[in-house]
């Protein structure tokens, strides 16, 4: 795994937009967006691939597959409109379709996404100013790496960013771009806040694509480039390599030799970090960091992280289904977690079916926050706070019903299915086993090596889910309209006939069908020049006959009536 972190700390406060005037190292494009949309904190991650917590431990920045954006705004009214404008601006800035993060997929997490930077108690107590949204279907590619690189002070031509070869990076298993803006303290006294911009890129490769089956890697083989320069604008330019297992299996050696080796001690975990000052290694030739392994790669059981989770869809058919999330606690102590789920509105979650179980026994959560969805307006938002017992598996299940969408609401490949965003599990770990994130109070990686705190905030994202919905026949709009209107017309016609017409007795022979009427019309036309006077005479008596017959009928009726009375 390679993790690049570029941190810029600017000694102005993001709460004061008028100080965001004279840009030096901080990117102007991003700064303009932050001040125009009254942003206090911004966290954007763009990820392709799934981080396997059971095998790889914890990443420095945990991100779900797809795009995730959560923002804390300055207090002002009309936050929903500001959020809509912000995602549009960011989608232009990062070349990602963030503009799809509209109200249908945006939630206000109540407990899960507290500010990562400086914020007052009063401000962060409620969730009026935070918005969280993800796009699990989003694909991350070179188009997203380029604008991300453009935000760096040194650009992509010199410094560590020059290693970022998009062809090789997008070959990996997992790559995650991150942009994190927050307020930090300028100094230890913390009288004035500063704005910190942290850009991260995490890449996971499988190095055993080498021919000899060994895990050897080097800059040249991983990035197809070597480090030839260093960024003159940066204060710190270092490379850290985790050499904890250098002496044990698997044995490997680094070349060139590191400048020094640090011992990182975090409660419960000891790590050895080799440090390279880039400036020392650039002359005489470029820096091509190499690790050579003595033996071929053998897989062994890695130790499980303290808390990890799995989530999957259950059920069959396109009518209903269920979601199950298993959260594993491998520690020997209980811990409390906050479990947050955002489910799209078209999977109608039944709150009455929500169950949390541990070993078959039902657990009652400490707190539940369930906001049901409004069709085509908001998603389902669920936050649960409950206890994970030591050395156990906790299972959260709920069932849903699949809704029927209008034919225009399906994506182009309708049978592919719809994505449900990852669940977020937040907890505080007492031990830092397999924990690589920087602690929240510091900015640089090195500062968190000597972290003496005893609680470590952890945020996990589970897998995304793919759910199929029943589809209508997309080729049928005209046919459906015609057929449905035909059925309505059958009713309308019959009822109209029956209500506007009366029953009468008539002579079937006198009634002429359409064909007979046409025939007689043409006959009349043909005969009229020859037999006009005769036909006229003939007609009049026939009419008289008709009148006579009618009056006869009436007379007969009257007679009958008279005879009765």
């Amino acid at each position: 795994m390679f993790h690049f972190q570029f941190t810029t700390v600017w000694n102005v406060s993001i709460d004061k937009p008028e100080s965001f005037q004279h840009y030096h190292l901080f990117p102007k494009s991003l700064g303009d967006v932050l001040t125009t949309y009254k942003v206090k904190e911004l966290h954007l991650s763009q990820t392709q691939g799934l981080w396997k917590h059971e095998k790889w431990g914890y990443p420095p920045e945990d991100a779900p597959p797809g795009d995730e954006l959560w923002v804390w705004f300055q207090p002002h009214s009309g936050v929903d409109q500001t959020w809509a404008d912000l995602v549009n601006a960011l989608s232009g800035l990062f070349c990602a379709s963030l503009n799809f993060m509209d109200s249908k997929s945006t939630v206000q997490p109540r407990w899960s996404f507290r500010p990562a930077g400086l914020a007052s108690e009063f401000y962060s107590a409620n969730s009026r100013f935070v918005r969280y949204s993800t796009l699990p279907r989003e694909v991350v590619c070179t188009e997203n790496l380029t604008p991300w690189k453009k935000l760096l002070p040194c650009g992509s031509k010199i410094g560590l960013a020059s290693l970022l070869n998009s062809v090789k990076i997008y070959d990996g298993f997992y790559h995650s771009l991150g942009v994190h803006v927050r307020s930090v303290c300028q100094d230890t006294q913390c009288l004035t806040p500063a704005t910190e911009l942290k850009q991260t890129l995490t890449v996971v490769y499988d190095p055993t694509t080498n021919k000899n089956g060994k895990q050897d890697w080097s800059f040249q083989s991983m990035f197809d480039r070597t480090l030839q320069s260093q960024c003159p604008l940066a204060d710190t330019r270092k490379i850290y390599v985790d050499v904890t297992t250098q002496e044990t299996l698997p044995k490997f050696s680094l070349s060139p030799v590191p400048d020094f080796v640090l011992n990182q001690k975090r409660s419960g975990e000891e790590r050895k970090i080799a440090v390279y000052q880039i400036g020392n290694h650039l002359s005489p030739s470029s820096l091509n960091l190499k690790a050579m392994y003595e033996e071929k790669l053998t897989f062994s059981n890695s130790s499980l992280p303290p808390v990890y989770a799995n989530r999957f869809v259950t059920g069959y058919g396109l009518e209903r289904g269920g979601v199950t999330c298993m959260i594993y606690n491998t520690m020997s102590s209980n811990t409390t977690v906050i479990f947050m789920e955002t489910v799209p509105w078209f999977l109608r979650v039944y709150f009455s079916s929500l169950r949390i179980e541990n070993d078959g026994k039902e657990i009652k959560p400490y707190k539940i926050n369930f906001i049901p969805a409004k069709d085509r307006a908001n998603p389902y938002q669920m936050e649960l706070v409950f206890r994970l017992f030591a050395n156990s598996v906790t299972k959260i299940t709920y069932s849903f019903e699949r809704a029927f969408l209008k034919w225009t609401e399906y994506p182009p490949d309708a049978n592919h299915g719809f994505y449900v965003s990852s669940a977020v599990v937040s907890t505080v770990l007492p031990v830092a086993s397999q924990y690589t994130a920087t602690s929240q109070s510091v900015s640089l990686l090195e500062e968190s090596f000597s972290d003496s705190s005893s609680s470590f905030f952890l945020r996990l994202h589970t897998e995304t889910l793919l759910v199929s919905l029943p589809t209508p026949d997309f080729s049928m709009p005209y046919n459906v309209i015609c057929l449905a209107c035909t059925v309505v017309a059958i009713a309308f016609g019959s009822l109209h006939n029956l209500t506007t017409r009366d029953f009468t007795a008539s002579d079937p022979s006198k009634r002429k069908g359409l064909v007979a009427k046409l025939k007689s019309f043409f006959k009349k036309e043909k005969e009229s020049p020859e037999n006009k006077p005769d036909s006229k005479e003939e007609e009049i008596p026939s009419q008289k006959d008709k009148d006579n017959s009618k009056s006869e009928e009436k007379d007969s009726k009257k007679k009958d009536g008279n005879s009765e009375t």
Binding site: F351, I368, P372, L405, K406, P472, A484, L495, D502
Partner: protein, 439 residues
């Protein structure tokens, strides 16, 4: 006729109790022909679970019952599942008892009306007149039609809340036949409060009230007649307003209106059912959606006016015809409405001989009832059919209902024609004349 009636009634109850023990109720409560988003018991339970948790059931889009129903269902749901099944059988027993009373009162009412209008009839029509003996077994036929009607049984087993709607409508009809028109108007308002479309049933109640209180040769458009119509309409709308006000006080705000009446009118949920709305609005272009919603909703109620004018002398038949139009064209129809239609059909058994399409209609009903769950299963679970199969069945079922309704109206009007004009119509040359509809 009392013993066979009692036997069939008891058999119906036993049948329902026995079927509740099988797995049929669970299967039926998932069938979209029987339960709709408005009447589903599962959704009602979900709404109650949210209500108990402190979340308003109207903040989501699952629960669409009115607040009064929320209270009643909340009361029912506190019992154990077996007791809930018994409560639904009890509701069916109540429905059966009201139908018995209706059959009884209807017989008497029809004889009374016939006695007043027999002087206008043709002398040949004597043999078409209703006799007391014919009307004695109305109770038996109505009980059989209700107890063994698969649509009513399905509605009961699936625990659909349409049973409440049916009971209120039957109470309205019963009070109308007994002569308590104002009480009938209150029940019509209650039915409209629950499902909105029965508001048009205030028209037959108003016409009936006028007919009952008509003195001499008063015409339908006389000022006193209009005053009596307005009285009934006033009672209906006043009761409806009071119920809405109480609901607002119970829920605390007006937010239940978009969830209940807005939902019925706007049709946002496109769950398949045996109606015409769902697939039509699935495939409708967004641009025209509002227009066609308005057209379809007007289509439900527009038949009131011509039918009321044509059937102004027969408000009970008008009431029944309007039940048909509501049940066929409403936005979320289900077997509850069909069951109600079939349960009241024996009241007009004197019209059967004049109907023309009974065989076709019965065949269509049988075929659609059997095919609907099959096609749904093939579409949703097996994946080997698509939505068009189920849509075809829904179209055929709607057509069968329409044929039955129009055939019944045709037969009724033809019988009226024969009563007024005799059934022997001969042409001057001695052959039979044809009786046709002509303007």
């Amino acid at each position: 006729m009392v013993l066979p009636t009692a036997i069939s009634f008891v058999c119906g109850v036993i049948l329902r109790l026995a079927l509740f023990r099988s797995s049929l109720p669970d299967w039926l409560s998932t069938k979209t022909e029987v339960v709709t988003p408005l009447t589903s018991w599962g959704r009602a339970m979900e709404g109650l679970a949210l209500h108990r948790e402190g979340i308003s059931p109207y903040s989501g889009d699952i629960f669409h019952e009115s607040p009064l129903m929320l209270k009643i269902l909340g009361f029912i749901s506190r019992f154990s599942p077996n007791t809930i099944n018994l409560i639904f059988v009890l509701l069916d027993i109540i429905q059966g008892m009201i139908l018995l009373r209706i059959a009884n009162t209807f017989g008497r009412h029809m004889l009374l009306r016939q006695a007043t209008s027999v002087k206008n009839y043709h002398p040949d029509a004597k043999k078409n007149l209703l006799r007391k003996e014919d009307l004695m077994d109305l109770q038996f036929y109505v009980t059989v039609a209700f107890s063994f009607n698969p649509y009513s049984i399905a509605t009961c087993l699936a625990r659909s809340t349409a049973v409440f709607n049916n009971i209120i409508i039957l109470l309205a009809l019963y009070q109308m036949l007994k002569g308590n028109s104002f009480l009938s108007a209150v029940f019509v308002a209650l039915a409209a409060y629950i499902s909105m479309y029965p508001i048009i049933l205030c028209v037959p109640v108003a016409v009936h009230y006028f007919l009952m209180s008509r003195k001499g040769g008063m015409h339908y458009t006389d000022p006193t007649a209009v005053v009596s119509y307005l009285q009934i309409l006033g009672v209906t709308f006043m009761s409806l307003a009071i119920m809405l006000l109480f609901s607002m006080l119970f829920v605390g705000s007006w937010e239940f209106i978009p969830s209940t009446y807005g939902f019925i009118l706007g049709v946002p949920d496109l769950t398949p059912n045996l109606g015409l709305f769902w697939y039509f609005f699935t495939e409708m272009f967004e641009h025209f959606r509002t227009f066609f919603i308005c057209v379809f909703q007007i289509n439900v109620v527009i038949y009131t006016i011509p039918l009321a004018i044509r059937l102004r002398e027969h408000p009970t038949f008008l009431f029944y015809m309007l039940l048909y139009t509501i049940g066929i064209f409403k936005s979320y129809p289900g077997y509850g409405d069909v069951g109600l239609m079939f349960a009241l059909l024996p009241l007009w058994k004197h019209v059967y001989q004049y109907m023309r399409n009974t065989f076709v209609t019965v065949c269509m009903f049988l075929v659609c009832t059997v095919f609907a769950p099959i096609q749904y299963y093939l579409w949703i679970y097996a994946g080997s059919a698509n939505a068009n199969f189920y849509f075809a069945i829904s179209l055929a079922f709607s057509t069968a209902q329409i044929l039955m309704a129009t055939d019944l109206l045709f037969g009724f009007l033809k019988r009226e024609f024969y009563l007024h004009n005799g059934d022997k119509h001969k042409l001057p040359d001695g052959t039979d004349a044809q009786i046709i509809l002509d303007s």
